[in-house]
Amino acid sequence: MDLSRLDRRIIFLIIAIVVIVPMLFDVTPEVQITKDTEQIFDAIDSLKTGDYLMVSFDFEAASFPEMRPLASVILNHSFEKDLKIIGLALFSEGTAIGYTLLEQIAREYDKVYGVDYVYLGFRPQYVSAILGMGESIIKVFPEDYLKQPLEKYPDFLELENYENLPLLVSVADGSLPIHWADYANARYGQRVAVACAAVMVTAFKPYFESGQLIGPAAGVKGAAEYEKLLGYEGAAHRRLFTQSVVHLAIIILVIVANVSAYVWRKK
């Protein structure tokens, strides 16, 4: 049997099994902290109590399972440090997700809306929104997600534009951090840290190397490393075992395909 021409449905079935079965076991593998995750952790950790931190939920509903642990560790860290969080979304689908997550985690830390955090909601056309906030945040977001004028929150009035913002974190599943780098960093000198989907790391690498972006904490592994830095083992740790098994399964499949193709060519 020529295994190198295996029906794709069999491959799909194998992947389904190797994803589902490891989830049944409670195994938390040992995580090594990388310098990338350490960079974004340090950037947030170096902020002082009461500093502003903008968190942009730049992802869509589809990638929520991968992005949730990342967004959670960032928010946990920020609330622990008593930073003033300004949430927003540049994808419409991330709007409700970002708000729900922010509310949930804020409740765990007894934080008050309008005092410790606000949620600006969504603006279409991310390029103009990013550029617009460099001029005036209140002009781009005259009202928050709850339809209240921003003037209602005196704790956030000092934040006029990027000038009073020591750090911005883009929690992104796609290429939006590049736009943050191109427009907020290059044009306004805004420091931008990134927590992104694992697949995007290499795309952003030149920006991290040049210092235009900070980080990244990437994917479930990045979230697990961040959890370790915060001193706990959460959801990301539990998912890592499944990820390891799937990676191994794909490697075995590739080896099987190559060996089989070689044997059949010989025959």
Binding site: F12, A61, A96, T100, Q125, S128, S136, P206
Partner: protein, 207 residues
């Protein structure tokens, strides 16, 4: 008039956007902020074009009873129901709109996203073959990086994550920089062609 007018608008706003980058003068900054506002307003109107297109195509499918036409009814129903719920009861936390979004849209989209895992496996199975020296390099690199990005690699040997990181930091980033510079230059010349009115494909015509 049909092409000259948009080209003239494009030229004026293109040159202005380019030049204002080099100034922090409040008049120019305020003008720029004004243009950004306009962009957002125009964008909202373009969505209407999309919705009209969906209605037009799917209602034609229904009236002609083309293949799979019942799905067209579902599509139109989806738009109408979400619009009615959104405008009628709002999109805030706890609204029916958000309930549908979180309980139907999110799982459906996540399912589509999860397909990537299956397709990565099938594409890797088909594509990663030891055909020649270059393919061999691709195959070995892929295996090292895949192992290096999960704790398993570290458990086998510390050398695996270190090599994976080296590959990402050096050859991969170097190649990406080369590609990015090329893309950047391509973008610059395309943008210049658009601003100068040489490039007209965005108006539906040949350059």
């Amino acid at each position: 008039m049909r092409t000259r007018f948009p080209i003239a608008i494009c030229f004026v706003f293109g040159i202005f956007t380019l030049l204002q980058y080099f100034s922090k003068h409040p008049t120019l900054t305020a003008m720029y902020a004004e243009i950004l506002d306009w962009m957002q307003i125009v964008f909202v109107f373009t969505l209407l074009v999309g919705v009209i297109s969906i209605f037009k195509i799917h209602s034609a499918k229904i009236s002609r009873q083309e293949r799979d036409w019942p799905y067209s009814i579902l599509t139109i129903l989806g738009i109408v129901v979400m619009a009615v719920l959104g405008f009628g009861y709002g999109t805030e936390y706890g609204s029916p709109f958000l309930w549908i979004f979180q309980n139907i849209q999110v799982p459906m989209q996540s399912t589509m996203f999860a397909l990537i895992a299956f397709f990565v496996a099938s594409a890797a199975y088909r594509g990663f073959r030891f055909r020649n020296k270059e393919a061999a390099v691709l195959l070995i690199t892929a295996i090292i990086v895949m192992l290096g990005r999960v704790p398993l690699g570290h458990q086998i040997s510390d050398l695996i994550p270190q090599t994976a990181q080296w590959i990402i930091d050096n050859p991969s980033t170097a190649a990406k920089r080369g590609i990015l510079i090329g893309i950047g230059l391509g973008s610059i010349t395309t943008a210049l062609r658009v601003i100068l009115g040489i490039e007209r494909s965005y108006l539906g015509g040949r350059s």
